[in-house]
């Protein structure tokens, strides 16, 4: 008994103590406390624009407002003219393509497909006035729309189909006297509604973020850190950090979690070691589209259907649009579980001039590069948006359709509901050949999930990935994930060995017993 007591005192007790001490979760994360203190100091404006003499009047047209802004902020317009928000393209090096100039200006996406020939409606979300077609003057500073980002009155708006111009009847005098740093709803005016409606495109960016609780987004919610977009997307001279890989291609100017939280954010070092291969978002955004559903699939091939000659819509009981004659079929998902991929910060895009290979059955709108062996690659959550898009069956290129026009008879799909006309009009505008024969091809687009970070206690738990079946990373290849990865050979061999040892022991014991009885 003394030995057993010694054994427990000398072995089990130290083991328990060490385990309990190492697992003590009550220790504070000092870095997090410092960040909370830093970001609880809110910006106090140094200027009250309502006292400014030049702004004590009404304005007839928005270009005048821009001119007035520039009269004081003399160099700011030039900064804006160099911004991707203005140019809708960026210079980037893409492996296999060289230096490219890509962006919303010329790329195809998996939602409304692209702006070309549709500028007047799409470019409502451009930070300028009058980008109605490819004759728009990007060098003219008076075309800049300062207010869409700097209006703090909440009264400013841009007109549907207005190419970025505001609708008539706005009270400019009130608006211009309340300009200031961009707020969440300034950025959200465009970024929440990409793809044609709230949360359609991103799934992790939507208007519920303005009112949501900490459970939805620890950073942006009022009862959380109440951060502004620029707190992470840090902005210097109108250049913002942050990349959206639907249009971006290179691993520069990114806004990352590590910018604030460092590479050593956990108390538990085992978790810190994960940061080498696993992006923060993977564990800390367990689901996205937490409040409103996001669009996961858009099938253009069913568009133009009519009932009794009339276009129609199908809306489900939750109010989600499931079908509309002008756009086709949609799938929506709320509380979506992300897919996971290796990603190293670089991407490629399917250009409108790219030719599909004969055996391509899926058109990848964008390709996010990365693999297990690449030291720059980490595992990140993505939304994979699938679709069916028109392509030219002879030229084997994707086709830009003309979707919108102010009036019927111009070939706009959303007005005339005629695919042949819309495709011809779109390709005529782009200046690329169209054979006239087309079909629809399955398309895929990868969107990084970066927002809607959950509180730490709602992050993924070990078992969510470290599990034999149904783990989150079941589709991730090239890396050993304890508990998930198995090599059947080892387990079969091991179990066989244990079985043989046990059987041998049993047989030996039985013979011993029988011979003992005989003697």
């Amino acid at each position: 008994m003394k030995n057993i007591a010694t054994f427990f005192l000398s072995v089990i007790l130290p083991l328990l103590i060490i385990t309990v001490v190492l697992r003590d979760a009550s220790r504070e994360n000092k870095k997090l406390e410092e960040l909370r203190a830093e970001f609880s100091i809110k910006h106090i404006p140094s200027v009250d624009h309502s006292k400014h003499p030049d702004l004590q009047r009404d304005f007839d047209n928005p270009h005048e407002i821009t001119a007035t802004c520039i009269s004081c902020h003399t160099e700011r317009a030039d900064e804006v003219l160099a911004n991707a928000h203005w140019n809708w393209e960026r210079e980037a090096y893409i492996e296999g393509r060289g230096v490219t100039y890509l962006g919303k200006k010329n790329l195809i996406n998996n939602f409304c497909t692209g702006i070309l020939s549709n500028e007047a409606t799409c470019n409502r979300c451009h930070i300028g006035y009058g980008w109605t077609d490819n004759t728009f003057d990007h060098a003219n500073p008076y075309n800049v729309d300062c207010l869409i980002c700097h209006d703090n009155s909440g009264l400013y708006d841009k007109a549907r189909g207005g190419a970025g111009y505001p609708p008539p009847g706005l009270d400019f005098q009130t608006i211009v006297q309340q300009v200031g740093l961009p707020q969440k709803d300034n950025c959200g005016y465009c970024h929440f509604y990409g793809g044609g409606g709230n949360n359609v495109k991103h799934g992790d960016l939507e208007n519920a973020l303005l009112t949501a609780s900490r459970d939805v987004d620890v950073h942006m919610s009022a009862d959380g850190a109440n951060l502004n977009c620029q707190d992470c997307h840090q902005t210097t001279n109108h250049q913002m950090l942050g990349r959206y890989y639907g249009v971006s291609s290179d691993n520069t100017q990114r806004a990352t979690c590590e910018d604030c939280h460092g590479t050593f954010p956990h108390i538990d070092h085992k978790l810190n070691e994960h940061t080498i291969k696993v992006g923060c978002q993977t564990c800390h955004i367990p689901v996205y589209a937490k409040v409103n559903p996001t669009k996961m699939h858009w099938d253009w091939s069913t568009a133009t259907d009519r009932i009794d000659g009339e276009p129609y819509e199908i809306i489900d009981t939750l109010g989600n649009l499931l079908y509309t004659s002008i756009k086709g079929d949609f799938h929506w998902v709320q509380n979506a579980v992300p897919d996971y991929i290796w990603f190293n910060g670089t991407a490629d895009h399917h250009l409108i001039s790219d030719i599909l290979e004969p055996n391509d059955t899926i058109l990848y709108i964008n390709t996010l590069f990365g693999e297990a062996n690449d030291p720059l690659s980490r595992i990140y959550p993505v939304k994979i948006h699938t679709g069916r898009q028109p392509y030219d069956t002879e030229n084997r290129t994707i086709i830009q359709a003309k979707l919108w026009d102010a009036q019927p008879g111009e070939g706009a799909l959303w007005i005339d509901l005629d695919w042949d006309e819309a495709l011809q009009a779109g390709m005529d505008y782009v200046g690329l050949p169209f054979s006239g024969s087309y079909d629809f091809i399955e398309s895929k687009m990868f969107l990084m999930v970066n927002h809607m970070v959950s509180p730490a206690d709602q992050a993924l738990q070990c078992e969510d990935c470290h599990s034999r079946t149904g783990g989150r990373l079941a589709g991730i290849e090239g890396v050993y994930i304890p508990a998930q990865t198995t090599y059947a050979g080892i387990d079969y061999f091991g179990m066989l060995m244990l079985f043989l040892a046990f059987t041998g022991i049993c047989i030996h014991a039985i013979i011993r017993y029988l011979s003992w009885r005989k003697n």
Binding site: T19, K270, A372, E463, V479, P482, A483, I490, F493, M495
Partner: protein, 224 residues
């Protein structure tokens, strides 16, 4: 029944080492196979912490035990010999059923039979080092230092985990057979009791061979 005499075979440290190591190896197997995904008992996170802590304790124990083996000269117990090896194997395969005598005598200078010598030596210089080394690499192929995570430059854990898991199965099979062979002593429980109390009842003639206190006998033993 021959007369028996109680002999002090396993000193206090040896017993402490043996049982601590036994417990730790079983505990490492229990938590290790949970990390492997074979079942869920403690939860993955707890299993990892318990496994790593138990492993570090085992390593400390091993260091002490190496010291003990060297300073006491007990390492000689594990010097392999082919003498009586075949006889020992034949004993386990046939002799034991005929109630034949053990082919090797147990003395405090030679506690282990030739098979034990071979198997324990293999365990000490091959399997446990492999498990410790692969385990340490598994534990530290990424490690925190000065506020950042460094890497040993091993990009793929697969071969390390493969070796460590295979080793675990082999060790488990060893434990299984080892536990069974405990019952093959003088009586079913005499080996077990010896490792618990340190004292074993050896048959009189065996006890006569005890050389720890009888240097002359020792010399005699060494001369063929």
């Amino acid at each position: 029944m021959k007369n028996t005499r109680r002999v002090y075979l396993y000193p206090r440290f040896e017993r402490f080492w043996h049982w601590t190591q036994a417990f730790l190896i079983l505990f490492l197997a229990l938590t290790g196979f949970e990390i492997h995904g074979s079942y869920g008992i403690f939860g993955f996170e707890n299993a990892v912490h318990l496994h790593n802590n138990a492993a570090l304790i085992l390593i400390v124990l091993i260091i002490f035990t190496i010291f003990w083996h060297l300073t006491t000269g007990e390492w000689r117990q594990y010097m392999p010999t082919t003498k009586n090896l075949k006889a020992q194997l034949e004993y386990y395969l046939t002799g034991i059923f005929r109630n034949a005598p053990h082919p090797t005598r147990k003395t405090s200078l030679s506690k282990l039979n030739p098979m034990q010598r071979l198997v324990y030596l293999g365990l000490k210089i091959l399997f446990i080092p492999i498990m410790v080394f692969s385990g340490l690499v598994y534990m530290f192929y990424r490690y925190p230092i000065n506020g950042e995570i460094k890497s040993l430059g091993i990009n793929d854990l697969t071969p390390i985990a493969y070796i460590h898991t295979l080793g675990a199965y082999i060790l488990l099979a060893f434990v299984l057979v080892h536990v069974y062979l405990i019952t093959t002593g003088h009586t079913l429980s005499s080996n077990l009791m010896a490792m618990i109390t340190g004292w074993e009842d050896l048959e009189e003639e065996e006890a006569d061979m005890l050389t720890g206190e009888q240097p002359e006998q020792n010399k005699k033993d060494k001369k063929p």
